[in-house]
Symmetry: C2
Subunit: 496 residues, 2 copies
Amino acid sequence: MSAPKQSRPKARLPRGFRDRGAAEIMAEQKMLATIRAVYESYGFEPLETPAFEYTDALGKFLPDVDRPNAGVFSLKDDDEQWMSLRYDLTAPLARHVAANFQHLAKPFRRYQTGSVWRNEKPGPGRYREFTQFDADTVGSASPSADAELLMMVSDVMEALGLQRGDYIIKLNNRKLLDGVLEASGVALDDREKRGIVLRAIDKIDRLGVEGVQALLGEGRKDDSGDFTKGAGLSPDQAHRILAFVAPDAQDEEEHLQQIGTLISTSAVGAAGLNELEQIVKLLHACGYGPDRILFDTGVVRGLDYYTGAVFEAQLTFPIKNEDGEEVVFGSVAGGGRYDDLVARFTGQAVPATGVSIGVSRLMSALASRGALAAVKAPLVVVTVFDKAEAAASFAIVQELRAAGIRAEAYVGTGKMGDQFKYADKRGAAIAIIEGGDERARGEVTLKDLALGAELAKSVESRAEWVGNREAQKSVKRADLVAEVRAILGPSSGIKS
Amino acid sequence: MSAPKQSRPKARLPRGFRDRGAAEIMAEQKMLATIRAVYESYGFEPLETPAFEYTDALGKFLPDVDRPNAGVFSLKDDDEQWMSLRYDLTAPLARHVAANFQHLAKPFRRYQTGSVWRNEKPGPGRYREFTQFDADTVGSASPSADAELLMMVSDVMEALGLQRGDYIIKLNNRKLLDGVLEASGVALDDREKRGIVLRAIDKIDRLGVEGVQALLGEGRKDDSGDFTKGAGLSPDQAHRILAFVAPDAQDEEEHLQQIGTLISTSAVGAAGLNELEQIVKLLHACGYGPDRILFDTGVVRGLDYYTGAVFEAQLTFPIKNEDGEEVVFGSVAGGGRYDDLVARFTGQAVPATGVSIGVSRLMSALASRGALAAVKAPLVVVTVFDKAEAAASFAIVQELRAAGIRAEAYVGTGKMGDQFKYADKRGAAIAIIEGGDERARGEVTLKDLALGAELAKSVESRAEWVGNREAQKSVKRADLVAEVRAILGPSSGIKS
């Protein structure tokens, strides 16, 4: 029943999407369970919103507002209304809170995990569908809500197996930035100029002080000769902003004093400094010092909607990319305070603060150092010697499963050789054979595939190994489970 | 910073989508974990495919081909190629297998769970995004692969807490149906007529024998007067098909004999009978009798792509809908053999068989009898008496969490009364108060909110309860964890 060739579709994935296999999925499961456990221990509870929102409800808060292809996946519903796939989990939260405000316990504390979609140009390691894991506290202006999130992210990183020092969470406050801008004579309602300044600061790790200075002034020509227009600040204005972003202070205390001077004429700046000090005070009282959470004026966060505290978690160890080159991995989690998102719907400002962990990014980083390896239970493949007697093989797998051991009877149509190859390719730990004669004697044969592979290293040809008898033994049918357990070792069970 | 009113979006969900809260999400998590454990114990391993596929790769295999609004969510990518959101997990599997055929262990055995999307008219309990949980064996024509799936579905139902007799899995074979059609003189390549016949049979539970008879003949007028065109079979042809679908046999054996006679002239029918007999033989040998898996000629399954065994799991107990009326719940899982899906891409038929569990449907059914209740660990809310001393409350939650108890410090800005209301609304088990005087004495106050609610039932007003002292007690700060544990009881831990 083959289809005519000309009409056959190609078996391929759309650009920027990918399939994921068992090892990665199981590692992600483990990671999500770990994050979930920490979030729940802090009292957060799950919420799920659908993939689609009305486009107008999502708003335009995409992080990379300066990228040409930035966008969302949108389509028109039957009733001509535009819907979009969510690009993050914060915009749907704001919609949910606005729609259910009266019924929610406040502060409303929820976590959510799931796929988000970005209609952006894909690249190496850059996909158009990926997983986020967010937690937010909505309805509290208290700095303790921000401090709590910072401690929680730190706890998550360590629960995932990172050592102290493997990561650092950098904390800043948008109001401080606005204070410096205001004190420097930059009008805060000039959103375009403010945006250029924030994006320039955000690039300090990559471009250095000189690069940022150029972007604060007339502009900057990069290595390829492309020119990026600058914010057009005066040298004195640029100097003040650089003094804030790249201070020459010896320690945090001196830095904070310098900032106090820089923003002394700005009310919003003073408010930011007060918030920051309250957060840091609570963090220190709870034992979260600068080895975990560090004040850093270089942290901006791309999203336009932040209004107060902003922070991001970075990994400090070197990470290799697919080509084996060491790369700066950047942020694996980030968040901050956004007090205006719900107001988009209701007109009433609702203070909120949240964090988003980039699960897919963090996972690839952890994988590069072998953390979070898959935890697949070993598999036993029971071969089927005579297809007419398949029931005997099924009886064996039923017995093994009842004992908590992962087992499958071969359900293909291949001969014994194919069945061993199958067991090998599946990475099975043991293959079991029960031929007619053995059954008559009340015996079965166990083939230790891991041991067989070990032995195969010391023999010349694969063919020789296939005949190798050391890795297999006959046992009494009645001792089957005990003998399988003996080969698998202690942690063999499904439930372990 | 309120937005001008005219530009405010409405906080509402697109039609047919919904938010889900903690209880439902946690119950679904538990259900998915249970299904996953059974599938893995059978040797299946996870695969994940993206939400999007190219539209031509998905094909047109939607179940309800006779519904006017049946469809998928589609949009054009930047390069003008049409992409669609997956409407099931089988079509993406076929694409994955076709693209990776050479590298896969065969038979390829994978499970997948995730959202699927249908661009259909929503209705009560009928959403446009829902969760499925599939397992498939690709690359085996053996009836043992079908039999294994049937046993696995039965095991899943019981692992989810259903008693034997609460569910029944009905098994049929498309080749038998084709055999009866062929033996009745209906041309099998008349896909339209065959489709009308299959859909008519599918309605036997609802319309009865007479209704199906009308649909096999000229057609049927329903209660509202609408006329559905029939298959146009002769009375003799219709009679043969009804003899197959609604037999008058006393038992399964007699029924199979009758079918043998009905299809005696059809090769495809004989093949179907042989497959069925092999499956049933293996099921019986493994102890899965007709109390769990039952041959039933009335099972058709809507999807056009099935080519052999078809089956569906139904719940046998009465289920109430949202209005409290008892309803026939229908299928909660279904599947069968589809040997042509991969051939769409490669031209080469690859035998395959699979099952899909309708997680969202099954969950609402189980919820109606209180199974799968949420397993939320109890929560302790630590109030903040003096905002300037929040660190003391945070120290308490850190101590509780370290002892494995879910705890949060109040991070809102409300007064003590608001804080107790908050703890109440969150369903917290205990509220903790540490005022300045108490701290000086080395004491804290525990308020048993569950006991308080009990006591409140016997007092006249809520106000009276708030003052009720029986539900609260002062304890030594040093005994905090032990005292909290004593109130929460044995299964209080996060890790329990």
